[in-house]
């Protein structure tokens, strides 16, 4: 176990030290939403419902599935999602 690394900020410190989250899109108009099933039981039930709700609003949806929730997504899948989608929703829990 090592101490947490502390580094000195190399910038002019005009933005917060905490990394900001990516800005949320103001609306989903014209955007593609990816729904990622991580292969946990009944994740598909949750995502099916989301897909129906999004489709009602005219939002285009792409479905994806990780082979197993025990490992991080394969690189190819991550690249495919970032290429095809503007927004991703993951179903994380049972």
């Amino acid at each position: 176990m090592t101490d947490a690394t502390v580094v000195l900020d190399p910038t002019a410190e005009r933005s917060p030290a905490e990394r900001a989250r990516l800005a949320r899109p103001p609306s989903l108009d014209g955007r593609t939403v990816g729904l990622l099933d991580i292969s946990k039981p009944r994740g598909d039930v949750f995502l099916d419902r989301l897909e129906a709700l999004l489709a009602d609003r005219g939002v285009s949806v792409q479905r994806y599935r990780k082979p197993t929730f025990t490992r991080i997504a394969p690189t190819e899948l991550k690249q495919q999602i970032s290429d095809e989608c503007d927004v991703v929703v993951e179903g994380l829990a049972d």
Binding site: A4, T5, V6, L8, D9, P10, A12, A17
Partner: protein, 479 residues
């Protein structure tokens, strides 16, 4: 908090022969009755039979007591140090301890050893751990699961290559490379015009991979970039190619092993690579100048990672620094707003006249053969080419005069549309005139490169040269 115990303090390490020499005296000191504390830096077996011996494995006591040499003997009264000695000097130890016969059987004097608190790299770690670093930059704690290199990428602090994590200890070590105060402000870095301290330069120099000894050159390069005539803001923002090219002259460049020889404009030399990179990281991180944001370069050039080399000075040609008004032997950095490297291959010219014509014809391509008085140029002459001139008795100034003469052209050739090329000068400016390719003082000549190869190089300048854009600047390197 560390409280200095009253009485006598001895700081020692087992690894030191002089400390071993005085080890048998420690119980004599304890019996003297004033109170004795022995801080042992390395091994609890030292002074194991002496009550009052403490293992100083964190070196906090050694750090707080400013120990440089072991053994050190200190007398403390009412929480204040009144006297100290280091090494073994019998008279001093007897006087400070008040034990008249102390070590009577020992030699009169033995020098001590270096304190572990001053082992290479340790002093800075101790200063950070015990709160003595005085660094002002915001401390950013990385998550335990974060890889430091990746974390710095995620924060947008790199140029695309990995950077060295700027830990406080590394920054303290970097600051050892300059006598200047960390809080000294060098100026305001464009585009954000953010004040830049020596400390912020050190943080970015660590990230760039500099050694502390490079700091004087890095500081000079940053200060040069902030000189108004250099126009760093515009140079950064332009849609054109250029970025700052750093040329070092004088003993400072040699002292840190900068490359002026084989592959001088290329990769492989730490000083060249990291000094130029440190300047770019200061612009990026302190100034906020990032590509795609304020940096609008259409194509950029690979020198925007780093572009820094030293002139191969010789006795025959005046160094760039001397041409620019500094005395020979003065260390300088010159900043030139440069693009990439265009080679001039001439393996046949054996006379200065022929080689000058070869250079001139090649220099016409800067910006565009139809343009003139736009970008400056830096001509980098290799040793095999410079020899053609020096053996014929041509100085740098003589070569420049000849090039300037050869680079004058009839305006008619340069008018927009002439030669079937729409690019060119307005007729009103060019017709009936002789037009020089470069503005006065717009052609810089530097000698560099390996000793084999009849090749020289053109580093074209930003097309906005002089007062409308950028003028090369030279700054002396402070010791």
């Amino acid at each position: 908090m560390f409280d200095m115990p009253d009485g006598l303090i001895v700081v020692a390490k087992r690894d030191c022969p002089t400390c071993a020499l005085i080890e048998p005296l420690l119980n004599d000191l304890r019996r003297a009755g004033d109170g004795l504390t022995v801080y042992v830096q390395d091994d609890p077996a030292y002074a194991a039979d002496v009550s009052g011996a403490v293992l100083d494995d964190t070196l906090e006591a050694s750090y707080r007591l400013n120990i440089e040499i072991v053994p050190t003997l200190i007398r403390v009264e009412n929480g204040h140090e009144v006297e100290r000695t280091y090494g073994w000097h019998r008279g001093d130890w007897q006087r400070i301890s008040g034990v008249e016969s102390l070590g009577a059987e020992l030699p009169e004097m033995r020098p001590g050893c270096g304190s572990k608190s001053l082992d290479p790299g340790v002093a800075e770690e101790l200063a950070v751990r015990f709160g003595g670093d005085n660094l002002k930059s915001r401390r950013v704690e990385l998550g335990e699961a974060e890889d430091a290199i990746e974390a710095l990428y995620d924060r947008g602090w790199t140029d695309g290559l990995p950077v060295v994590p700027p830990t406080p200890a590394r920054v303290l070590r970097m600051l050892q490379g300059t006598p200047r105060s960390p809080d000294e402000v060098l100026g305001n870095v464009p585009p954000d015009l953010a004040p830049c301290t020596v400390e912020k330069v050190a943080v970015n120099a660590v990230m760039a991979g500099c050694k502390p000894e490079y700091m004087p050159l890095v500081l000079a390069a940053v200060e040069a970039a902030l000189i108004d005539e250099f126009g760093m803001h515009g140079l950064l923002c332009t849609t054109m190619f250029a970025g700052p090219v750093v040329v070092a002259n004088g003993p400072a460049a040699r002292a840190v092993g900068m490359n002026s020889g084989i592959n001088a404009l290329g990769q492989g030399n730490r000083a060249n690579a990291t000094i130029g990179r440190a300047l770019q990281l200061v612009i990026r991180n302190v100034g906020g100048g990032r590509p795609g944001e304020i940096d609008r370069s259409a194509l950029g050039n690979p020198g925007k990672y780093t572009f820094c080399f030293a002139e191969a000075e010789d006795s025959d040609w005046e160094p760039l620094s001397v041409e620019r008004g500094f005395s020979r032997g003065t260390s300088t950095v010159t900043l030139f707003p440069g693009e990439g490297v265009q080679g001039i291959v001439d393996q046949k010219s054996r006379t200065p006249e022929s080689l000058a014509r070869s250079f001139a014809a090649s220099l016409l391509a800067v910006d565009n053969v139809k343009m003139a008085m736009a970008g400056d140029a830096m001509l980098v002459v290799s040793p095999e080419h410079s020899r053609v001139f020096t053996e014929a008795g041509w100085s740098k100034a003589r070569l420049r005069e000849e090039l300037e003469r050869l680079l004058e052209r009839p305006g008619e050739e340069l008018i927009a549309g002439a030669g079937g090329i729409a690019e060119g000068l307005p007729e009103s400016l060019a017709a009936g005139k002789t037009i020089p390719k470069f503005r006065p003082e717009g052609l810089l000549i530097v000698r560099a490169g390996g000793t084999a190869g009849l090749f020289s190089a053109i580093i074209a300048g930003w097309a906005a040269s002089g007062p409308v854009g950028s003028t090369p600047v030279t700054k002396e390197v402070d010791a």
